[in-house]
């Protein structure tokens, strides 16, 4: 009986979390264009999707921005984490605190503040502004993940390497980098999903020359829910799921 209750409880939690997604995925295979009635299975919407050039264009933009901003954020974030872990310098604690503030800040605040900044610098909104915005968004996540990993190290490991004849450079190459790599990669996938998901910051910081997928979907939905969008979202869920599972796997490997 107890077991049964536990099972029901877990099932309810999962239903609460995932039922909307399931409904959406199911309807992406529905042969009806307008009604919510089930009219039979079809792959038509997926077919329509890949033939919609502007949608594909937006998707490619999104993937490009996600990949580039994740890579840049990983680089800056990792260096930041290594610096605040390895050396004691003025402002070290402040940097650490600011990273958390950035992580917690509402997207709308980041978006508007960046917009104001870009206008002040009279930068044209487009690829570069969006890239900078997403690097800002993702960098703290990478830095915190990598820093957490570094904190988990036995501090004597570096000393042991020195003791065994490794110079500063060799310590970085053979000890610090390989040991932080799983966290860096996890940070990359996390950044990738963050960037791919983002609507609010992109709304403020990109221009008509560079449209990304979430914004495109947003404008499509304003004209009514179309089954193509269901199909598109189902595809994005798949990409996100792969990224999340990879992140988890990498972080678990950190033993």
């Amino acid at each position: 009986m107890r077991r049964y209750l536990k099972f029901t409880y877990a099932a309810l939690v999962y239903a609460f979390l995932y039922l909307p997604l399931v409904v959406m995925v199911v309807y992406s295979f529905n042969a009806s264009r307008f009604s919510m009635q089930w009219k039979g299975f079809t792959l038509h919407w997926y077919d329509a999707l890949i033939h919609d050039a502007s949608l594909i264009q937006a998707a490619l933009h999104s993937l490009t921005i996600a990949a580039v901003s994740a890579t840049v954020a990983c680089f800056i974030g990792t260096v930041t984490a290594l610096a605040i872990h390895r050396w004691r310098f003025v402002g070290r604690k402040a940097i650490h605190a600011v990273l958390f503030v950035m992580m917690m800040s509402p997207d709308i605040v980041i978006g508007i503040s960046l917009l104001v900044l870009f206008i002040a610098l009279s930068l044209p909104l487009g690829f570069w502004t969006l890239l900078m915005a997403h690097v800002t968004l993702c960098m703290p996540f990478v830095a915190i993940t990598v820093h957490g990993r570094l904190q988990g190290f036995d501090p004597h490991v570096v000393e042991a390497a020195r003791d065994l004849g490794a110079g500063e450079l060799e310590v970085w190459r053979h000890i610090m980098l390989p040991m932080t790599m799983p966290a860096v990669l996890a940070g990359w996938f996390m950044s990738f999903t963050l960037s791919l998901d983002d609507v609010i910051i992109a709304f403020f910081t990109t221009g008509p020359t560079f449209e990304v997928l979430p914004l495109r979907i947003y404008s499509m939905v304003r004209l009514g829910l179309k089954p193509e969008i269901n199909a598109l979202c189902a595809a994005m869920i798949l990409i996100t799921a792969v990224a999340v599972v990879t992140t988890q796997w990498l972080l678990k490997e950190q033993k």
Partner: protein, 375 residues
């Protein structure tokens, strides 16, 4: 020992953290092939001493020489010493083989030579067959042995061991103590071990250095430190002691007559005392003799052999079973608590004394240690 120049020489070494003295005026010479243990409570500076020798931290003042060469300013990677860390500090992302090979690779040895020497080292610590494992797939004892192999494979002049056995359980620790000692004899490498465990220090080392609050209290072979402690601190740290306070009444060369309470006691000491000096008499529990007053009254022969200079009387508080021996806790009539270790009789394996028994306490003349009164 080569009898020649010391391999490690510390002269007036001081280490200060902020305004806190970690080590003060350390003078120490360690010879080739010696097994030296630095013994002290936590926070006494023993690990700091090791870190100074390894080069992880600079000395505040004084000199350290390794093999006749001043090592000031020399980074750890250029010193011919290796360290076994308390936490082992194995490289988690490398296999056992790569961990052990690390030092040789850093020094640019040939591939074949590396393979051969790593195998030798793993063989010495009985870890053949574990080459491909990662540290987290090994037990604590195995990790410890990898840490030892990783250090000795480089054939250092000195191996520094920072409480290497403290994370192991009792049985394994005993086993590793013997293994380390045999390894040291076999390799002939100088070992400097740091521990807070006096039993460990005594059973493994040629020489024990007792450290307290950053200063060396005494250095010498284990038996000397145990039997002739230089002061109360050392005496207390290296084992249980009983303490009696007295005053020198008479001095005839090495023989001293003490007045302890109402009793005149004859003792021996190679220290110089003069009449009227206040002294401590140190007695190890195993050096004390205890008999019941009842037995002494009934058995004149026993009484004659027991003590000619008189004895203290007291009451048994409790007995503590220790396996091969048992401890008798006695409160003397002057109020001082005493612990005596008794062996079980061959014919009678039960605890002889009962709480409440009136007993006489004495010791064999010459087994005591006399120290000037402190504080």
């Amino acid at each position: 020992m080569n009898g020649s120049a010391p391999l490690v020489r510390l002269q007036q070494v001081c280490k200060r953290y902020g305004d806190q003295d970690a080590l003060v005026d350390i003078d120490l010479e360690i010879f080739n092939g010696e097994f030296v243990t630095i013994l002290g409570p936590s926070g006494c500076g023993k690990t700091t001493l090791l870190r100074l020798i390894a080069g992880f931290e600079p000395v505040t003042a004084g000199h350290i020489q390794l093999n006749g060469r001043n090592v000031a300013g020399l980074p750890p990677e250029q010193r011919e010493v290796n360290t076994v860390f308390q936490s082992y500090a194995l490289f988690p992302h490398m296999t056992v083989f790569d961990n052990v090979a690390f030092g040789l690779r850093m020094r640019g040895h040939e591939k074949d030579e590396i393979r051969q020497r790593v195998n030798e080292a793993l063989n010495l610590v009985q870890l053949i067959g574990f080459e491909g494992r990662r540290p987290h797939q090994l037990s604590g004892g195995q990790q410890q042995r990898v840490a030892v192999a990783r250090a000795i494979v480089n054939r250092p002049l000195v191996l520094l061991l920072d409480e290497p056995l403290s994370a192991l359980d009792y049985r394994l620790r005993k086993q590793m103590q013997m293994d380390l000692k045999h390894l040291q004899r076999r390799l002939g490498i100088t070992f400097i071990l740091v521990t807070h465990d006096q039993e460990e220090a005594f059973s493994m080392s040629d020489r024990v250095v007792v450290l307290n609050a950053g200063r060396i209290e005494q250095a010498g072979p284990p038996s000397e430190v145990y039997e002739q402690p230089r002061n109360l601190y050392v005496a207390r740290f290296v084992g249980e002691i009983n303490l009696l306070d007295g005053q020198v009444d008479q001095v005839e060369g090495e023989r001293v007559v003490l007045r302890i309470d109402q009793l005149n006691v004859r003792v021996k000491s190679n220290r110089k005392f003069t009449r009227g000096d206040r002294v401590h008499v140190l007695l190890r529990p195993e050096d004390l003799r205890v008999e019941t007053l009842k037995d002494l009254a009934e058995n004149p022969a026993l009484k004659n052999s027991f003590a000619d200079g008189g004895y203290f009387t007291g009451t048994v508080q409790e007995t503590i079973y220790k396996g091969a021996t048992y401890d008798v806790a006695v409160v003397l009539d002057n109020g001082r608590p005493i612990i005596a270790t008794e062996f079980f009789n061959a014919e009678d394996a039960t605890v002889y004394f009962r709480p409440g028994d009136r007993v006489a306490v004495s010791w064999i003349e010459g087994w005591e240690v006399l120290l000037p009164h402190e504080g």
